[in-house]
Amino acid sequence: MTLTAGGHTLGFLMLKRTPLYEFHVSCGAKMVDFAGWEMPILYRGIVEEHQQTRTSGSLFDVSHMGRIHVTGPQAVGLLDRMLTRNVSQQRVGQSRYSLVCNAAGGVLDDVIVSKHPKHWLVVCNASNRDKIVKHMMQILTGFDAEISDQTESTAMVAVQGPAVVELISETLEMDVKSIKRYGFDNGTYMMSRFTLFRSGYTGEDGVEIIVSSGTAQNMVKSLSAEMNRPDSPIKPAGLGARDTLRLEAGMPLYGHELTEGLDPISAGLSWAVDLGKDFIGAEPLRVIAGHGPAKKLVGLELEGPRIARQGSAVNSGPARIGEVTSGTFSPTLQKSIAMAYVDAGHAAEGTALEIDLRGSIVPARIVGLPFYKRAK
């Protein structure tokens, strides 16, 4: 068999490490190169970590994600020009999911933008950080604003799962329940300020915390007091489980469902695009929204255990009508699931299609997204 990973012996010398590197190693993590960072792909097993998140709680190191601060009198103007979402009405303590598009309406990145009392925070994908900073520098020339990349002076962890909100409230002495979904608040831990966001990328309730690099290790240890115990309510989980969790939750991943060649309307993200305002890419997106997109992102359930991969062809009889962007065997549903772009004429729920898996034709059916929705 051919292993796609491996061969990173030399590459490791140049990889960046997060403030939680020692913690990962002490928990027995298997580390991989992810967008130039040495990150844990798994600790015990992807499926086990996935189920731990769905049933109790998991802690993910997401320190590799970009954290860019925007300040100055025209910060709002800069962000409104760059983002598909209208930020001028956003209140302090609120976060919003948004897209950053190029002039053609293609997606440069998907980000979370948060309004703090004295600055704005843009959290972007690790793989797009350099590109987004450059993009912001270009837009900046027209505005009285400043940007500053704070990624490497802080750590960021996501704690996700049904048991998390109660446990975190105790550990950090903070009433997390009072923070609304996509809201955030500041707290103090060991004399160090942190910001806690009620958000995540798993389909579960939970939080994401930004804290100074120096405090991060201690906070993680106390959050997970005895994280290696078999019955510990919160255990570490790696990027492997993060991917299968977000896929079950129907959330797009940059490089798969979103690329510079794809637009947010076709991706089903119209709710995050305010076509009534002027932003980079607005004009072509208005045209696409007006005509209706030629292809649409859909969910697929495959017959049998085989997994569709990015690039697998989606066929309707002899005609190729789409392409898979992500696939996995869903640990929660115990079914093979995938997301794919298909021609708009074949995008209705219930449509029977076939997926070409390296020459084998596997029947599939379009289902609604998300595949998994937590009980409230």
């Binding site: 068999m1 298997k30 792909i41 798994l42 499926v47 492997g240 997994i307 991969r309 065997f329 390296r358």
Partner: protein, 126 residues
């Protein structure tokens, strides 16, 4: 990572164990760990002919899909049907219960050209 000395290997991570003229084939722990949770193993039918250094099946995990290779040619005499319902056996016991196929070798000395455990580990970078 330990690798049994009583069998021989391909650089592509398959092990081959000879008993009489029957060669049992599976993948190594290194390969199983790299694949992570295995979800599906596609194996040939009993009676199928396989050629040396060709693909005899596919293995899928949460992470990726890969071809499986045999270092020996011959006729498939048995396949591990346990893997249909429990592909995770390849993760938990790759050198034992996670075996994949048995081949009646055409060559009287079928393992001669394959790697020793030591040479495999060198090639695999461990």
């Amino acid at each position: 990572m330990p690798v049994p000395q009583d069998r021989k290997y391909l650089e592509s991570h398959e092990w081959h164990q000879l008993a009489g003229d029957i060669v049992t084939i599976g993948i190594t722990q290194i390969a199983a760990d790299e694949l992570t949770d295995i979800t599906y193993v596609k194996l040939p039918a009993v009676g199928a002919k396989v050629a040396a250094n060709s693909s005899f099946g596919e293995i899928e995990s949460v992470k990726t899909t890969s071809d499986l290779y045999t270092g020996v040619g011959g006729t498939v005499t048995a396949v591990n049907t346990e893997l249909t319902n429990n592909p995770g056996l390849v993760n938990s016991d790759p050198f034992g219960k996670g075996w994949m196929i048995k081949v009646k070798a055409a060559d009287p000395n079928p393992l001669a050209k394959l790697l020793s455990a030591e040479d495999y580990l060198k090639k695999a970078g461990h």
